[in-house]
Amino acid sequence: MSLAYDRRLPDYLRAQQFAIEAIAKDAGLDFFPLLFEVLSYDQMNEIAAFGGFPTRYPHWRFGMEYEQLKKSHEYGLSKIYEMVINNNPSIAYLLEGNSIVDQKLVMAHVYAHVDFFKNNFAFKITDQGVDPETGVPIRKWLDTFANHGAIVRRWARRIGIEQVERFIDACLSLENLIDPQKPFRPSHPPETRDEDEALPEELRLLRVDRDYMESFINPEEFVAQERARVAEEKTRARRFPESPDRDVLGFLLVNAPLERWEREVLSLLRREAYYYLPQMQTKIMNEGWATYWHSRLMTEKICDASEIVDYADRCAGVLATSPGQLNPYKLGVELYRHIEYRWDRGQFGREWDDCRDYATRAGWDRRTGLGRKKIFEVRALYTDVTFIDEFLTPDFVADQKLYAFGWSERNDRYEIETRQFREVKKKLLTQLTNAGSPIIRVLDANHENRGELLLEHDHHGVDLKLDWAQEVLVALNRVWKRPVEIFTTVEDKASRLRFDGTEHLRRTR
């Protein structure tokens, strides 16, 4: 990038930044130091293509993203206003040439994002340690991502970009196979086995004092059941990993026969996958939070009278909904407001839940005034799944006109199925669980005692996209270097998909 280009904030924006920062702090937001840079369209598109970072490892996919962003920008389909990186200090980009109202809006929005990055528990996994003096988390992801770039580039020079890129392709196919809970578990699960379990061979039958009672106290079915249990425990003892492992990437990293460069590349890709994980887990909450605050700060403090209409127009654009797609900004901000409203009026707790009388509920106001406190608490302690699970109410679903839709075979299109609270909530949660990815575990690394890798898909009513699944098996085979297999369910039949290095096999089990 040419040095002549000045990305520093011009004075009039710097003045805005100081003002808005003070206002945000005043409102109770707690954020990392924030650096703004002003980018041209080109640079904005480039950095957006790189997933927000100015430097990434070389890969064609970024080029593809760039082409798409560039095209859709040129055709006037979309425009990126703003980006912010979860880093300490956080970096945010402003688009050169945006109107002052837009820039203010973006700044207010971004301060709330950074508050969220700093305080939401899910983002703790992006901590890279804690500053010993101040106790502030260290997040130098800008450097980390740049280092990843350097590592991959070095290997590409030595081994050839073609080969490295192909390996990255394979790894990216597995990128979503990480365990969202892993960072919160102790790294070595404590040894829980006690003596009984160490000797699983024995049948645990009930004591029989009189022989003729044997078939009554320990009937044959029970004995058979016990036998099965013992056999199961034996195989489990032999099995590796001992219990199914959701962190497939981590498992491969430790156990797959990888060359040094492969291991290094896989390791950094896994690190990046975990970096992006909290952002996917909190899309609704994060955007909702930022929208909540930009709307509050802009309308109450920042805008002057001449700007309010422009602001409203822009904000309406952000919150627009379209059928068949949920707008996380809209859903998030409305839910925060809903929570604030309820906690301000004391509409929570046992008494509220038990109250069935419509009129009482409608007029319910205990003047508790806890709303603000509550949403701050919520932004720290929840992710999208728990956020929806706990705070989505039938009133809210009705107010916001939420509906569940599904594919109609008969009409060959997506159709609204229902507006019932229970169904909507269920569908929403399903959509959000595991960041919208199927749950996959490593079941056995020595499948059939032949060193083959066996995965298992935790099927909850939705099949895998089969052609893609087969492609992923090819990628997995590239990493594991032995045949791979996955247990799943296809059209209500328990099935297994297998790839042995040359051909695909699909059968029921």
Binding site: M1, E46, I47, A48, A49, P54, T55, P58, H59, W60, R61, G63, M64, Y66, E67, Q68, S78, I80, Y81, M83, E165, L174, E175, N176, E287, G317, V318, A320, T321, S322, P323, G324, Q325, L326, N327, K330, K401, L402, Y403, A404, F405, G406, W407, R413, Y414, E415, I416, E417, T418, T430, Q431, G436, S437, H457, L464, K465, D467, W468, A469, V472
Partner: protein, 370 residues
């Protein structure tokens, strides 16, 4: 300004090219690209190159939406909100199919690579060069018609200021002889067309729409390749049933006549076109003839053979005859040609059974590098 992304972008373009190479057969047989031809670029829709992951099958999943509507109402699967590009840079895959632009030159290159077409050997006919004048400079002498007013004014102004005779209150500028500036030109050599393709097509009743479509597709690709090989290519179009006439490109592909077939009429006209406009010593000449192989009479076939022997073949680089299969045609003509010209290298015949055979046929015609 160079961007860091450029490297990744060019990697991506390479991959796209590879993808197009693999899919070329599809593109050719469906004639997909011709419809998308802009000025000199073809935009090719390719599916977003997805990185496959374990994912849910779309149709089973459904989702949650927001807005009006009753149960049973359709939900347009939204493409995202327009104008809304907030948030962290997307981790989500884009929804739009990707359109990639290729120049016709690149396309020809891909075609050449895929079909392993040899480059055409120079027939020894020098590229004809024309001289063209371009106004590129300024000089002090010249005709008044080429006077460069602005430059003249400027130099006069400059002179007057330096001489002190310029009065801002009364800014009158009077150029002298020395101030005059004139546009000047350079003569450049520019290559002109030195290859001509003469397309001939049988439009008699037996040629159906499908047959014509095949001809259309095939001629697009032949055109693309030959244009890549020669700096300038002219094309002429002749249609014939019992009589032949020259038409423009559009008419060529649209006309549908009924009636008999006299192939000789087309050959005679082609010979005449060559005689009038394209002296063989200066032009690379490529006659292509497409028909269903049904000729009026044996006599006429004999006339054709004579015309070929005496005028067309000596004048042409190579004469190509493509026979499309139609339900009505007897397909006799190709046999007659093969009988008469057996192993004459100046004539290439090829049968195009259906769309899938177009690739093979292009290879037949151009594979010899003539």
């Amino acid at each position: 300004m160079t961007l860091k992304i450029d490297q990744d972008h060019s990697r991506f373009r390479k991959i796209v090219r590879g993808k197009i190479r693999q899919n070329l057969k599809k593109y050719i047989s469906q004639g997909e690209l011709m419809g998308k031809q802009g000025n000199d670029v073809v935009s090719i829709p390719i599916p977003h190159i997805d990185i496959p992951r374990f994912r849910f099958a779309d149709k089973q999943q459904g989702g949650v939406g927001q807005g009006e509507g009753e149960a049973g109402d359709g939900v347009g699967q939204g493409q995202g909100q327009e104008g809304d590009g907030k948030g962290e840079a997307g981790k989500d895959a884009g929804q739009h199919a990707l359109e990639v632009e290729l120049t016709l030159d690149e396309l020809a290159e891909i075609l050449g690579e895929e079909l392993e077409l040899p480059n055409i050997e120079d027939k020894g006919k020098n590229a004809i060069v024309d001289q063209k004048d371009r106004y590129v400079g300024v000089r002090r002498v010249g005709p008044n018609s080429l006077r460069h007013f602005k430059r003249t004014f400027k130099s006069a102004l400059r002179r007057q200021i330096s001489m002190g005779s310029y009065d801002p209150k009364n800014p009158v500028i009077i150029p002298t002889r020395d101030d005059m500036r004139y546009r000047s030109w350079k003569t450049k050599d520019e290559p002109v067309a030195n290859a001509v393709i003469i397309y001939m097509m049988d439009v008699s009743g037996s040629m159906g729409d499908e047959q014509k479509e095949i001809v259309r597709i095939e001629s697009f690709w032949l055109d693309t390749w030959l244009r890549k090989q020669y700096q300038g290519v002219e094309t002429r179009f002749i249609i014939h049933d019992a009589v032949a006439r020259e038409v423009d490109r559009d008419t060529f592909f649209r006309t549908r006549e009924s009636g008999g077939t006299m192939i000789s009429s087309a050959y005679r006209l082609a010979a005449q076109v060559i005689g009038d406009d394209y002296p063989p010593s200066e032009w690379n000449i490529y006659p292509f003839h497409f028909s269903d192989g049904d000729n009026w009479s044996v006599d006429d076939t004999n006339v054709c053979v004579n015309l070929l022997k005496e005028t067309l073949l000596p004048a042409s680089n190579v004469f190509c005859y493509g026979q499309v299969e139609s339900p009505y045609g007897s397909g006799q003509f190709i046999k007659d040609l093969r009988e008469n010209f057996g192993d004459d290298e100046r004539i290439i015949t090829s049968e195009v059974k259906d769309r899938d055979a177009i690739m093979g046929s292009i290879r037949d015609f151009l594979g010899k590098g003539k």
